[in-house]
């Protein structure tokens, strides 16, 4: 049996790196007192995985951790135990118990929704470029990869984008191993279109999404 836990990362904790968060969860899982399954091998550790890494400095209301249990456990008890083991700045939003055959969250993630807030005087000029960007068919840019730099078309990686009040915009971006773009990079492209320097950004993740039976994007926890 496995527990899928959706939790958030509040502004105060946005400077925890993904690696530190993983270590933190090893201890947090010990604190829950739940019958956690341990890996075999030379250096055993609790079996768990994250839906997606959150970059340093981002906040979120949709992080997913998948913890394997060695014995059946009720949803409510699991939720209470996990909530008690986390600080208030890592709030637990929902818990779902799934069987071992359920696909790993990491394998299901296709897209992510974000709210991006732009700081400073360049923000309006950047936001004005959103409709321009959406009407383009090809937005060529250079992406750094492990094997060097690669020219890509960024346009299809941006599924949706709309401006909001007060220097913010909302966007849905591709998030798979081969196709992904980070909000900061998107802001850089918009700033290039506007001919201004990229403003400082605050990124907040609203949701991780996978694909439903009809290929429609659905929140990860519902799949």
């Amino acid at each position: 049996m496995r527990a899928l836990i959706r939790f958030g990362k509040q502004p105060r904790l946005r400077f925890i790196s993904h690696l530190d968060l993983q270590r933190f969860f090893q201890r947090a899982v010990n604190r829950t007192g739940l019958p956690v399954a341990w890996s075999q091998g030379f250096n055993p550790h609790p079996v768990m995985s994250f839906g997606s890494a959150l970059a340093l400095g981002w906040t979120s209301e949709y992080e997913v951790i998948d913890i394997k249990l060695s014995a059946p456990m009720g949803r409510k008890r699991t939720e209470d135990a996990v909530r008690a083991a986390l600080p208030e700045d890592l709030p637990v939003y929902e818990v779902r118990m799934v069987d071992d055959k359920h696909a790993a969250p990491m394998a299901l993630v296709r897209m992510s929704d974000y709210v991006v807030r732009l700081e400073g005087e360049n923000a309006p000029a950047v936001l004005e470029q959103i409709p321009v960007f959406l009407q383009m068919e090809v937005v060529t840019t250079v992406k750094k990869t492990k094997s060097g730099e690669k020219e890509i078309n960024a346009r299809p990686l941006v599924v949706e984008m709309e401006p909001l009040e007060e220097g913010c915009f909302k966007t849905r971006l591709m998030l798979t191993e081969s196709q992904s773009i980070k909000p900061e990079m998107l802001v850089g492209l918009l700033a290039d279109l506007a001919g201004v320097e990229a403003p400082r950004t605050h990124v907040h993740r609203l949701a991780l999404l996978g694909l439903g039976p009809q290929g429609d994007p659905l929140p990860l926890m519902t799949l």
Binding site: L13, R27, V29
Partner: protein, 614 residues
């Protein structure tokens, strides 16, 4: 923009932003308006160092157990953060509520190490608090404690109170007194006068220091009419089982130096090593019961989720019920995959059956501290171990599958000669032979011997407080001698450092009030994080001493006569000066003193009525 937002803006541009983040699991949050006393606790080093420190955890918990007070943590911002805070006018703040330190009622500072003194000045300045006690008309009272509190004289101009000895109870009394003082609406100076009556509290500003023509101290006496005691006795917690101990520990997000449960199994040490300040000032030995330790371990494992418990003390192998404790711990926590570890192992107690049991999981390097290379010199320092002990320990270890050994020594111990230094190389060679004496199929491959030699710093309140530090040239000569000799022993890695940092440490360890100006000048010139070799500026320190007309050799290199009055003689650390002097004289005759568990050696602790003194 709020202070919190301004801090967060800086965090994107500094190394290790988690240092300044707060919000850890088990950090204590309270309503600031719901408490009478706000207490900021400063550890004057980085977050990773300070968060590894047990004393801070104990006092944080002890203060926060009260409903009327809230203790919050402060660490020295690393130089990158400090510079940005200064640029942006951001005051030093606490991690919990991000409140400026200057708005607190009390500021407790722990003095673990002389080389953190400039960080205290840096912290006061970043807080916007005037450096000198005499210049402060508002803001928190500054209370220093910890081992260096037994000679706080170089800091005397800057601090308000000094807390000697165990902090659990005296800290509460300083808080109680603060409430009374505040309620009575008395002037600031009255708090200091009243605090001088709390057991263990020393108020430097209430004392006059007179000097002899040769620059030594003639006397330190309470100011007439101050009511301060002539001698301040340290505070002592007689029964550790009834003393407060955290049931929860803050679990940091980033990695810190000691990221595990620290369980203090006893306080004090009976060995009587003559170089060791901790072995003197933390007397007498007070053990916690096995029952109590098991309970403490249980609640800490559940509340932190840590997978390692370190059994802490000055000499854990000396715990009277160690086999029982270790056995029950291993049994109790094996199923929860919690490791039990013993730090700083002594070579005479190290490889008991117990340890074999506790080391089941991981074979890290075996760490041994013979401290000196010859039996004669080990007798001088009263390190009651022999070469045979060492040989037995390492042979056992190699047979059990260890292949890495770390050996710690000191250079410049009193009466040391070149021959003693060559003895270190000789020991390393013998350890190597022990390894090869174990049949190849039984020993683990890859022998690694690390020999570490630090420079001895004579400390106040030890039998070596009368001894000069070895001069720079001779230290360098002996380091090179040892390096050359060890280079002929295969498989040995030799670690040593330039003696300049130890020299400044020696100046302050036995310093007096006249050093305060030089310390402030050095800090103004840019000295901070002096204990970090990448930050330490020897050149600036020498300039600062020169500008203030201070000859540092007077403090570090001068042999003291037995009738000299020391700047710390009015602070009673538990052991008497007469005992220390006897030990100093025996040291020069290379005579040993037995472990006082085997019979009272008359150190003076009986005066405190907390020592069985068999």
């Amino acid at each position: 923009m709020s202070l919190s937002e301004r801090i967060e803006n800086l965090m994107m541009s500094v190394q290790k932003p988690v240092r300044y983040m707060g919000g850890e699991f088990n950090a204590v949050m309270k309503d600031a308006n719901g408490v009478d006393v706000r207490y900021a606790f400063l550890f004057p080093d980085t977050y990773e160092v300070g968060m590894s420190h047990l004393g801070m955890k104990i006092l944080y918990h002890a203060i926060n157990a009260r409903d009327d007070a809230w203790c919050e943590r402060v660490f020295s911002p690393w130089v990158d953060m400090a510079d940005l805070m200064r640029r942006d006018g951001i005051p030093l703040f606490t991690l919990e509520s991000r409140t400026p330190v200057r708005e607190f009622d009390l500021l407790g500072i722990t003095l673990q190490y002389e080389m953190s003194f400039t960080n205290i000045l840096e912290a006061l300045d970043l807080s916007g608090i005037p450096l000198r006690s005499a210049d402060r008309t508002e803001g928190p009272f500054i209370i220093c404690g910890g081992p260096c509190a037994f000679n706080p004289e170089p800091l005397a101009p800057f601090v308000d109170l000094v807390a000697l000895g165990d902090g659990e109870e005296e800290t509460q009394q300083t808080i109680n007194l603060y409430k009374q003082w505040k309620a009575a609406g008395l002037p600031r100076s009255e708090y200091l006068r009243m605090a001088a009556h709390i057991p263990g509290i020393y108020v430097p500003s209430l004392y006059d220091v007179c000097y002899n023509d040769d620059g030594t101290v003639r006397s330190v006496t309470p100011k007439p009419g101050s009511g301060a005691p002539e001698v301040v006795k340290k505070a002592l917690v007689k029964d550790l089982d009834s003393a407060t101990y955290p049931e929860k520990l803050i679990v940091p997000y980033g990695e810190i130096i000691h990221n595990r449960i620290m369980l203090e199994i006893f306080r004090g040490c009976t060995r009587g090593c003559r170089f060791c300040q901790a072995g003197m000032i933390y007397r007498p030995v007070r053990e916690r019961s096995v029952e109590h330790l098991m309970q403490m371990a249980d609640s800490l494992v559940s509340s932190t989720g840590y997978d390692e418990i370190s059994l802490m003390s000055l000499s854990s192998g000396d715990y009277s019920c160690l086999p029982e404790l270790a056995h029950r711990m291993v049994e109790r926590f094996a199923a929860r995959r919690v490791r039990i570890s013993l730090p700083s192992q002594r070579i005479d107690t190290v490889l008991t059956d117990t340890l074999k049991e506790t080391q089941k999981v991981k074979k890290t390097a075996l760490t041994l501290a013979p401290e000196a290379g010859t039996q004669r010199l080990r007798d001088v320092i009263n390190k009651g171990v022999t070469e045979a002990d060492l040989i037995r320990s390492v042979t056992d270890a190699f047979e059990q599958g260890w292949s890495a050994v770390k050996l710690y020594f000191m250079l410049g111990l009193p009466t040391e000669t070149d021959e003693d230094v060559l003895g270190i190389a000789d020991l390393a060679e013998k350890v190597r032979r022990c390894y090869f004496s174990v049949p190849k199929e039984r020993r683990a491959p890859g022998l690694r011997i690390t020999v570490s030699a630090s420079v001895f710093v004579p400390k106040n309140d030890t039998p070596f407080q009368w001894a000069p530090q070895l001069d720079y040239e001779t230290v360098v000569h002996r380091q090179q001698l040892l390096r050359q000799t060890l280079s002929k022993v295969k498989g040995v890695d030799f670690k040593y450092h330039a003696p300049d940092l130890s020299y400044i440490e020696a100046v302050f360890a036995r310093g007096d009030r006249r050093l305060g100006d030089a310390m402030e000048r050095a800090w103004r010139m840019g000295c901070r994080f002096d204990g970090w070799s990448d930050q330490f500026r020897y050149d600036l320190w020498l300039k600062a001493f020169e500008a203030e007309g201070i000859n540092p050799d007077f403090y570090a290199l001068r042999p003291r006569t037995t009738d000299e009055v020391f700047p710390w003689d009015h602070l009673d650390c538990g052991v008497t000066k007469a005992y220390l002097l006897r030990e100093w004289e025996k040291a020069q005759r290379a005579e040993c003193t037995m472990d006082c568990r085997k019979g009272c050696t008359g150190c003076g602790m009986k005066r405190y009525g907390a020592c069985e003194g068999r």
